[in-house]
Symmetry: D2
Subunit: 283 residues, 4 copies
Amino acid sequence: MLGVYVIQAIGRTTYMLIKARSVVVSRRSRYQQIDVVDTEEFGRVLVLDGLVQSTEVDEFYYHELLTHPAMVLHPNPRRVLILGGGEGAALREVLKYKTVERAVMVDIDEEVVNVSKEFLVSWHAGAFSDPRAEVVIEDGRTFVERVGEKFDVVVMDLTDPYGPEIARALYREDFIKKLSGILTDCGVISTQAGTSFFYPEEYDELKRGLEAVFGRVSAFSAWIPSFGYSCSFIVASRGEELSNLSEEEIDRRLRSRGVVTRFFSGRTFKALLAIPEYRKLSN
Amino acid sequence: MLGVYVIQAIGRTTYMLIKARSVVVSRRSRYQQIDVVDTEEFGRVLVLDGLVQSTEVDEFYYHELLTHPAMVLHPNPRRVLILGGGEGAALREVLKYKTVERAVMVDIDEEVVNVSKEFLVSWHAGAFSDPRAEVVIEDGRTFVERVGEKFDVVVMDLTDPYGPEIARALYREDFIKKLSGILTDCGVISTQAGTSFFYPEEYDELKRGLEAVFGRVSAFSAWIPSFGYSCSFIVASRGEELSNLSEEEIDRRLRSRGVVTRFFSGRTFKALLAIPEYRKLSN
Amino acid sequence: MLGVYVIQAIGRTTYMLIKARSVVVSRRSRYQQIDVVDTEEFGRVLVLDGLVQSTEVDEFYYHELLTHPAMVLHPNPRRVLILGGGEGAALREVLKYKTVERAVMVDIDEEVVNVSKEFLVSWHAGAFSDPRAEVVIEDGRTFVERVGEKFDVVVMDLTDPYGPEIARALYREDFIKKLSGILTDCGVISTQAGTSFFYPEEYDELKRGLEAVFGRVSAFSAWIPSFGYSCSFIVASRGEELSNLSEEEIDRRLRSRGVVTRFFSGRTFKALLAIPEYRKLSN
Amino acid sequence: MLGVYVIQAIGRTTYMLIKARSVVVSRRSRYQQIDVVDTEEFGRVLVLDGLVQSTEVDEFYYHELLTHPAMVLHPNPRRVLILGGGEGAALREVLKYKTVERAVMVDIDEEVVNVSKEFLVSWHAGAFSDPRAEVVIEDGRTFVERVGEKFDVVVMDLTDPYGPEIARALYREDFIKKLSGILTDCGVISTQAGTSFFYPEEYDELKRGLEAVFGRVSAFSAWIPSFGYSCSFIVASRGEELSNLSEEEIDRRLRSRGVVTRFFSGRTFKALLAIPEYRKLSN
């Protein structure tokens, strides 16, 4: 077990060690320490302040589940906002939709975007140079408060709701209200929600906040290997409800919008929705 | 991050650290080191030779998925054999079926059974003293080779197919054939299969071995929090196929056989079957 | 590297993992978590709140160096006070001196003393039942402030000067002054001082505090294997200076006072005094 | 404790975690994985196959103790051979002696030398371009067997005697004999010997091998912070004995040969020689 390892948190006192093969780049931005590490079992990994954000071999699980449920739920997603998502992989997924006319990605840290452009090519896969894409370097909160524009889909690709303070504010009910205010009539919000097993209270709080603003929400989770846990996602909508979309309708929408995926499908997604939430009673 | 930790493997070079609160018992048997550890996030944990076997807070996910698919698939499971399973939790689950007349658990290590009886009460929940249960202390291979008896369901509750050598032999095709030989006509085998993501070749080999003997098999996986991965299970049958069982039929069988579960249900199980296998291309 | 480990700190971001064989006792006192762990390479280990205090195989290095320099420096040590030292090993060392008439050990945590009496027999080696020994369960600060009595030697066997807050107060100059006030005319104080390499500022502050009160002090360090570093010790005296004691005089005093040691001797100690302090420039 | 760490071994089942700040270079040579890591507490670190070789903040302790005892013991060291030592720091130290006319460094891995030249500037400090220095890329064994030349001092700057197989062969008695054969009449050999505490048998075997060939040898040890232990060194001579050199004579030789050191001195070295060996009884 000797050598260079990335140590990351799974739960509160549960950790994961990932063996590194080499470190590709290591840079300190104004906001955080940015490391791109090539690992034995996960290929290339993006690590921000010691927290694994996503990895080459399994980022598609995460980014497909973060974006497609919201994107298929919306009847005609043309304008998409991504908060965070510096790797460009959420952007890559939403740009797969030929309905999309404009996708704005707002990340606070330009350095992360630059590192991604150069070193995480399989993540963005050219998305940054898509003419429909715009990258804004700004705090997501400030952007949402100042922007006049409305969006059909908002994707929150941020650190965990129980993670670094800077992102926590974006999960609070007052900000969710503001987000709701920049949504079009059938607008949909999608967010990752960390692990409901290790952080049940924080997860519940986020879900309640979304329910308070949107009435009803859908939640599901899927194991993301490099996270060490089943990652929860929550989708809230001002229009349709996810539970009303049939397997066939999901597949039809993906097809008609020109979207090809590796993991996400009508069948897989309906299955994920049917699996009970992982819960741990606090002790 | 100071204090006492259990370090266990997730993948080949990926590890998990679980913070211990106290060590309840620590004993060396003829076969292995047996530790029962109370942890911060998983409650009580059974550790054999440094490998987490199961934990108080999530063993029910594992043991329900290991036993119920096979038990509901069989039209009338009366005689059940468990290989391994020293904690007594697989035994607890199969004894929930009022159809069961006899459940034989064969574990090589008497000390594990003794430690479980005394310290893992919520695991066996009295199963060891059920009059239908018999515990045999013997190598599973020897038992299967010598036993005259036939069984309706065989549950393999052993260490991973890519784990310690002692259990590996029980996953090989020649032993699977012997197992098939002690099954009744509609007999069903269920086994855990470790992680198909980190050990795709070893997983495939086990699955191919079962397919070679049984024709077709069903596989599914579910995240087990204390394992750090989505654990695969494979069910092989000489009779019905799992895919033919409807959600309603599964629930009906559970009900009619008097079985109450926490996680397993027709709906959950059909969903698990629908989720694609996690795969990592070796590099 | 699988199994149960004790993780402890060496420096600020440098850690040590010690493989456990079994945990002998694990108890939460009013003040702290107390674990006695049998390890692969250090035998039995006492761990308080995740910090290794001392181990069976190398505690004699630590306790001999903590006590004998002060005990040989004093012309006739009759009354000795130990602050902390719950294991009873510092007590064991000072009671080796036939000059000693009374040795008071003041530890805040009765549970540590009880655990030591039962499980750390080679540490105290019967010292607790020596008629000259008295154990007081009390905060060292309160004891020093209230006690009328004076002592020839005070041994500070506490957690590190940069460690848990509870002990830090006893290293501050104002408390050192109070300690000086309960010393007899030729009184000597000895304290462990953690690692001057990883915590140069904290070490310097403690040394300066002792110098401010006592004029001149002697410092030295020696590698303690289970600490992962060369542990510093500081001796301050109201009488003689350590540097004036010759190798032969140290050995003569040990002999005439009936003291047998395993590591400490005139030769070893003069050598330790001659080795420059380990220093790391902060960066 | 999150982030990137270097995990290295201290003993057999005792490990050290060093927090990395960034990885400067990460390269696989024909022989090994070479990582240069900037760490929080040790500055820049050279890691070969996951083993810390030396670090910016404490390499001088190691390299001074590895070279100067042998260099001062020899009456007039003119020709020096270094086996291993790719960082160039042992070379730097021996070139401090104005008596030295030729210093040959033989390292098997050219890539280590190249990485050192570029990234470990404070280690070699220009030694590689000293006209007296020659670097030979070759297996030390082959070099010693084929070289016609004789040397006054041989410095063995290799991985531990109980470490990777490639270096182990150079510690065996038959190779020591060959080394003795390329020494001039008053020739001296110096080697690091790892930790006598955690590996007493391996240490003893090496020491016995040297004694068998050279009659008598001198051994001492000093804590090297980044190793987590007191590192042993052994010096064997065909001429004078180290114990016969007085403190003053050592200082005089250093001075007259133009050598300035940071840690090594007559006083420090005589002290190190006086400290008993750290020993752990195996259990």
